[in-house]
């Protein structure tokens, strides 16, 4: 039914974030951030450490309650809904710090996501979990206990679980950290495949070149403010972005 509504509302964004704010005590961590995500679109999010990227993604995903602002998904206001309800609606987030179900196997981890997030019956859930693990390359480790995976394995498990939920929009929080060049290339291919299957993506990543080759649009955050939003090149070359990263030698070196 929601799919019908969404196709009926062609032209409207899949996800619309408006005026999101988050304060912890006197500190404003995210300040009045708004943007739209079109169906099938991929947006990269950049910003120095502590800029508020994760907090923004958590507010969109529903694990952190916003102090102000709204999150609209497929024309429906989700601002008051829990993370679990948003996940079942197709808005799925991966954790920057992986949250594996440690005592369960890799297979069971994917199966939980498929049967709950995907709201699938037993056999369909198994098919979906299998497909997700196949795509992320974790299928060989289906029998391993999730708690025993390396950090990279756990990050891949985060992605597998998110895929098994059958998302319409995927919120990715630093899934490439610690990967080798070759693995980053594999990940870029995977993201391209996911996009090609019609899933919209918001991807926080510090590895700029990975973002540049995967997304059609970049948003830059600094001290909780959106300081740039547009075509990747334009954002990277913008005055505001360069100022935010001033003194950050890695970023400037990479940009040069």
């Amino acid at each position: 039914m929601t799919q019908e509504t969404s196709s009926a509302r062609r032209g409207e964004p899949l996800l619309s974030v408006s005026g999101l704010c988050k304060r912890y005590g006197a500190v404003t961590v995210v300040s009045d951030v708004s943007f739209d995500l079109a169906a099938g679109e991929a947006i990269g999010v950049l910003g120095p450490n502590g800029a508020g990227k994760t907090t923004l993604l958590k507010m969109i995903g529903g694990t952190v309650a916003a102090n102000a602002g709204t999150v609209t998904f497929q024309g429906q206001d989700l601002t008051r809904l829990s993370a679990e309800a948003r996940c079942r609606a197709g808005l799925v987030r991966t954790n920057q710090v992986p949250a594996p179900f440690s005592l369960m196997t890799v297979w069971e981890n994917a199966l939980v996501a498929a049967s709950h997030g995907g709201a699938l019956s037993r056999r369909a859930a198994e098919d979906r979990a299998h497909e997700a693990l196949l795509r992320t390359g974790l299928l060989d480790r289906h029998h391993s206990t999730a708690g025993g995976l390396s950090l990279m394995g756990r990050k891949r498990l985060e992605l597998s679980r998110a895929l098994a939920c059958g998302p319409k929009a995927l919120l990715l929080d630093e899934i490439a950290g610690g990967l080798s060049d070759y693995e980053v290339k594999e990940l870029i291919d995977l993201i391209a495949q996911i996009r090609a299957s019609g899933v919209a993506i918001i991807w926080i990543e510090h590895i700029v070149h990975a973002l540049m080759s995967s997304v059609s649009r970049l948003i830059a955050l600094d001290f909780g403010n959106k300081i740039a939003d547009g075509a990747p090149r334009d954002v990277i070359e913008s005055e505001a972005f360069r100022r935010a990263y001033f003194g950050d030698s890695i970023a400037t070196a990479e940009l040069a």
Binding site: G61, T63, S82, A83, E84, C87, R88, V92, R93, N95, A99, P100, F101, S102, L103, M104, T105, W107, E108, N109, L111, V112, A113, S115, H116, G117, G118, A119, R122, A125, E126, H130, L139, D140, H142, H143, A146, R161, A162, A164, C165
Partner: protein, 334 residues
């Protein structure tokens, strides 16, 4: 694969043999044996129920005695005051306990961790004090007797009670295995490992918790009714005794939290220990406490958890595995 199937067969065979032995006890066992088994089983049932709440759904209640007591008093009211057949009243006591538990869940579910635990105990104490203060209807501190049981001949009464206790233990076990194998069970195990993460993949954490809480309270109520059906007399101090939750916690910690097999092993250990420690009365509680603390420090997974982390053993088929239809040469293992 085959090793696992063998384990499940062993598990099923053990369960069937035990069940057959238990059911036949009234035909060959002494009354003393029968009473010992009853006592063993209601501690096992209470331990399984507590394990289900704490081990899977992350609700560390220390107030389960509230529902044991409510179940016991519900039996009194249904059988003594309303004249129901006490045996047929037993399932109703579970419903009543669950109905009483519902409003407490509205309060408790706002709290987490230690606050949840303390509040659950406060609720139990409040109910005990309320029953204690009442003078006429529930008999106040002196309690009431289940004189209506006198209509049955003693042997018959004990046999039926015995079979009901066996039944409720098996029922709670079957219910748990069935639930854990279902979609809810996958969600529960995920919640056990990481509640926030479970919400992130669509598990309805709060709804699942409420289902478990109400089921656990209802089952505890039935156990309470059965305990006092054999005791024939209900007093607030006995019905709402902290022992109804303290011993089950001990059993679960010793045996292994978050597993089905653990509480069974824990209950056996508990029962043997109690036979020896009973002579020391008050000291026995201290000893149980020290043993539990030692266990938490040195083997936090309990006996069964420690066995399981060394060998890949499972007697009840709960875990889910990659179905054979997906097995390709590259993914085949062991």
């Amino acid at each position: 694969m085959t090793a696992l199937q063998t384990q499940h067969r062993i598990g099923a065979a053990l369960a069937l043999v035990t069940l057959a032995a238990l059911i036949s006890v009234p035909y060959w066992g002494s009354a003393y044996l029968q009473r010992s088994i009853v006592e063993f089983l209601y501690f096992l049932a209470l331990a399984q129920i507590w394990n289900f709440m704490a081990g899977y759904a992350g609700m560390f209640s220390i107030g389960q005695q509230a529902w044991v007591g409510v179940g016991a008093y519900a039996l009194i009211v249904l059988a003594q005051d309303l004249g129901l057949n006490p045996f047929w009243a037993v399932p109703l006591t579970g419903v009543i306990a669950a109905v009483f538990a519902l409003p407490t869940s509205w309060l408790l579910f706002r709290l987490k961790g230690a606050y949840f635990a303390v509040a659950s105990w406060v609720i139990a104490e409040t109910i005990r004090l309320a029953v204690n203060a009442d003078i006429n209807w529930l008999g106040g501190g002196r309690g009431r007797s289940l004189t209506t049981m006198g209509q049955f001949e003693r042997g018959f009464r004990e046999d039926v009670t015995y079979l009901l206790v066996v039944g409720i233990t098996i029922l709670s076990l079957v219910l748990m295995v069935w639930m854990l194998r279902s979609r809810i069970g996958l969600g529960l195990m995920a919640m056990r490992d990481n509640a926030a993460g479970a919400g992130g993949v669509g598990v309805a954490v709060n709804r699942t918790r409420r289902i478990v809480y109400l089921a656990a309270s209802g089952l505890a109520g039935v156990v309470g009714a059965l305990i006092f059906m054999s005791a024939l007399n209900v007093r607030p101090d006995a019905a709402f005794s902290i022992n109804w939750v303290a011993y089950p916690i001990f059993i679960v910690i010793i045996g292994g939290i978050g597993t089905i097999e653990g509480p069974i092993i824990g209950a056996i250990v508990f029962y043997i220990l109690r036979e020896y420690l009973d002579d020391f009365e008050a000291w026995s509680l201290l000893a149980f406490g020290l043993i539990a603390i030692a266990m938490m420090l040195f083997a936090p997974k309990g006996i069964w958890g420690s066995i399981q982390s060394r060998w890949d053993i499972e007697l009840f088929p709960i875990r889910r595995r990659l179905p054979a239809r997906f097995s390709t040469p590259s993914t085949q293992e062991t």
